[in-house]
């Protein structure tokens, strides 16, 4: 009896020591889960999820305060990846947060632009160049297509232009093998 108790106590002590040691040795700075979620999010920074950017949304998901299906730019694929990461069932996109659209970039009609800088202030990724009373231009390569510059523009001179498929962006399609009869 005594031997059994001693053994159990011994195991408890050893395990406790190992746990304590690993807590110190493998201490993780920051919130690794939020980092991983943030890495999956498309970084559009559009705020359609209801959070001011991708990072806050990632943190909210990590804390369990937000659902994984609130990111329309990420699409169903994004939801699936988040579900994989978190080990939960994927669900369909919550349409109250918007629906996925073809990838686009903003385009400023430079004849109409009055140079008010409001869009520059709205752009989450500083992809609009220009100064007060000067015509503004979108840096297309850096535009995430978040559409946040559309509402503040007083003259509605910004439009979203879908990215056309050209040679450098062309992709091979999934080959079709017809095994089953198509009903």
């Amino acid at each position: 009896m005594l031997a059994a108790i001693l053994v159990m106590v011994g195991i408890a002590v050893v395990t406790g020591l190992i746990l304590g040691w690993s807590a110190i040795r493998f201490k993780v700075e920051g919130n690794p889960l939020a980092e991983k979620i943030d890495a999956i999010l498309p970084q559009t920074q559009c705020g359609q999820c209801g959070f001011p950017g991708c990072r806050p949304y990632a943190e909210a998901i990590a804390k369990g305060e937000a659902d994984i299906n609130q990111c329309p730019p990420g699409g169903e694929e994004g939801v699936k990846k988040l579900a994989d990461l978190l080990g939960i069932d994927p669900k369909s996109l919550d349409e109250t947060h918007g629906t996925p659209k073809p990838k686009s970039v903003a385009f400023i009609d430079e004849n109409t632009c009055i140079g008010c800088t409001l869009c520059i202030q709205a752009c989450p990724v500083d992809a609009i160049s220009g100064a007060a009373k000067q015509m503004h231009t979108i840096i297309a390569a850096e535009c995430t297509g978040c559409e946040l510059c559309l509402p503040p523009c007083p003259v509605d001179c910004i439009s979203m232009v879908p990215i056309a498929e050209d040679l450098p962006h062309w992709k091979w399609k999934h080959p079709v093998i017809e095994l089953k009869r198509v009903a």
Partner: protein, 557 residues
């Protein structure tokens, strides 16, 4: 030859079909009325146009310059007038157009001044730049800029130089006839390569199904003042692959993810050597190449074709026949179906293979993979195609990459032997392009994240700076007030001023924007309405002008 040859793993023996086209002499294809010259003909950045619409250009004149080190220039293949710089059909399986320069030829075929290069006197870096500006790119299929490849690297010399005359792909014979008829020039080009690479051993590998080419190259090599080994290699597809040819001749494998110069060798196609000889000894840029036109045509043969010649003219020239089901650029193993024959011949066009139902019967329907591993036995990259297929099909691209998807050379051996007739290579191409697209998206997302974070940092900084400034200002103001007690009606703050400005701009813009139907007209006097109409008319005119700035400028000048 006494040289010991090595064997690469895998490979297949498809029917060769070389005899159809290799017997006829080389014919120069006639000058077409219109040349359409794509700017993206090589690996790397597309060339940038340096001519304008309406400009007259001479044969061999540079019309688009190389953009960066991994790029090459593009030249006018004949003299004439540039009529367009726009999107035109190009030889690509997608059928998507790409930026091209169109030249209306004048029939005079007038050369620009050009002179041989004294390559022995030139600094290697200058020579490489010169070759880049002469538009040289590998003519074996990959179209890698030759200038960039003629670099022995840090060591300063690359001991082994391999000239690849394998041409293992069925039907294609352009390298074969080039070696038969232009062996001397190929060897001249090789001498330049030897000079630039500092090579001591020069090997020419030619499949043993081309005895005439072997003879011709051997007799030409006998006249040289340095040793060249012309080696017959066993016919086995894909022995003409650069990596496979390397292994056959030297027994060395180019390490995965490394360059061949890392193991002290470099491989060039015979066509590239020929083009290099033309460039160095005559100063001619790469404006033409040999193209095999074969398959379902009346007179299968090889043509010397100007870059930019529409493909359909070549097929007419070789004699088109009824029952054509399609045209491939390249051979049956790796070639691509051409969505349109209006596409021009480019530097990569080695063959136009015209299909018919008899020559290329429709492939049988695919069955499920039975994991028989015949593909693995045939794979010259020594991969496990059945696993890659499984991952690619399931969209598990990460695993596909772990199983070395990117070492696949898309030679088609796996699909060729597959008893279930699965288009395996298609799946690998699909997986590769998905991975590339993902990586592109990932880079864009990383950039966006970085910029967003920087913006937040900047806003934070601005806020503190503003607060500090305000605090200082308030302090000053308080001091001022204390000194000078009565100032009535303080000036509006910065923020108010800005708001007012924006409001004014908004009003202006609103007025400007509502050109179609002026707003808020309900309570205006007829006089005012008339004024608005006048303004609208004027604005419409201005807009009309603004919309066509180029045209108006042209009219003015």
């Amino acid at each position: 030859m006494s040289r010991e040859l090595f064997k690469f793993k895998g490979g297949v023996h498809p029917p060769e079909h070389k005899a159809e086209s290799n017997g006829r002499p080389i014919h120069a294809a006639p000058l077409p009325r219109k040349l359409v010259i794509p700017l993206r003909q090589h690996i790397g950045n597309p060339a940038k146009p340096v001519v304008e619409v309406g400009e007259r250009v001479l044969k061999g004149q540079m019309i688009a310059a190389a953009d960066g080190p991994i790029s090459t220039a593009v030249h006018a293949s004949s003299s004439g007038t540039v009529t367009a710089i726009d999107l035109q059909p190009v030889p690509h399986v997608s059928g998507l157009p790409d930026l091209c320069i169109t030249i209306e030829t004048d029939g005079r075929d007038e050369w620009i001044a050009h002179a041989p290069l004294d390559y022995r006197a030139m600094a290697p870096a200058d020579l490489r730049t010169k070759l880049r500006d002469l538009g040289l790119a590998g003519l074996g299929g990959a179209v890698f800029p030759t200038g960039a490849k003629l670099n022995p690297g840090a060591s300063g010399h690359c001991p082994t130089l391999i000239i690849n005359g394998g041409e293992c792909e069925p039907w294609i014979t352009c390298d074969d006839v080039l070696m038969r008829h232009h062996a001397d020039e190929i060897l001249q080009g090789m001498a330049v390569m030897r000079h630039m690479m500092g090579s001591t051993e020069i090997l020419v590998g030619i499949e043993d199904n081309k005895p005439e080419a072997l003879d011709s190259m051997r007799s030409a090599a006998a006249k040289l003042d340095f040793a060249v080994e012309i080696i017959a290699v066993p016919t086995l597809y894909p022995s003409g692959g650069a990596k496979q040819m390397t292994e056959i001749l030297t027994g060395k494998q180019v390490p995965s993810g490394k360059r061949s110069t890392d193991v002290g060798l470099q491989v060039f196609n015979v066509g590239t050597a020929y083009a290099l000889a033309r460039a160095v000894h005559h100063g001619e840029p790469l404006i033409s190449r040999l193209v095999t036109v074969t398959g379902h045509v009346l007179r299968p043969q090889n043509f010397e074709v100007l870059i930019g010649t529409p493909m359909h003219t070549l097929i007419t020239l070789a004699g088109d026949r009824d029952g054509t089901t399609g045209v491939l650029m390249g051979g049956p193993m790796m070639g691509m179906p051409m969505p349109t024959l209006d596409a021009p011949v480019v530097k990569a066009t080695n063959c136009l293979l015209v299909e018919s139902k008899e020559l290329f019967p429709p492939l049988p329907k695919a069955l499920p993979c039975i994991r028989c591993t015949r593909c693995a036995d045939a794979c010259p990259a020594e991969l496990q195609p059945q696993e890659l297929f499984r991952f690619a099909k399931a969209g598990d691209f990460g695993r596909a990459q772990e199983y070395h998807l990117f070492d696949c050379i898309e030679c088609g051996c796996c699909s060729y032997v597959c008893p279930s007739h699965i288009p395996l290579v298609d799946f690998y191409r699909y997986a590769k392009s998905e991975i590339w697209a993902h990586e592109k998206d990932k880079r864009a997302a990383d950039l966006a994240r970085e910029r967003h974070e920087f913006r937040q940092f900047r806003q934070e900084r601005e806020k503190t700076e503003k607060a500090e400034k305000l605090a200082a200002k308030a302090q000053a103001k308080r001091a001022e007030l204390a000194a000078e007690p009565a100032v009535v009606g303080a000036a509006p703050s910065d923020a108010d001023a800005k708001k007012a400005l924006i409001a004014a701009a908004l009003a202006r813009a609103q007025a400007k924007k509502s050109d179609a139907a002026p707003k808020n007209v309900d309570h205006l006097t007829p006089e005012q309405l008339q004024q608005i109409d006048e303004i609208e008319a004027r604005r419409a005119k201005i807009r009309e002008l603004a919309r066509q700035p180029l045209e108006s400028e042209e009219k003015n000048t």
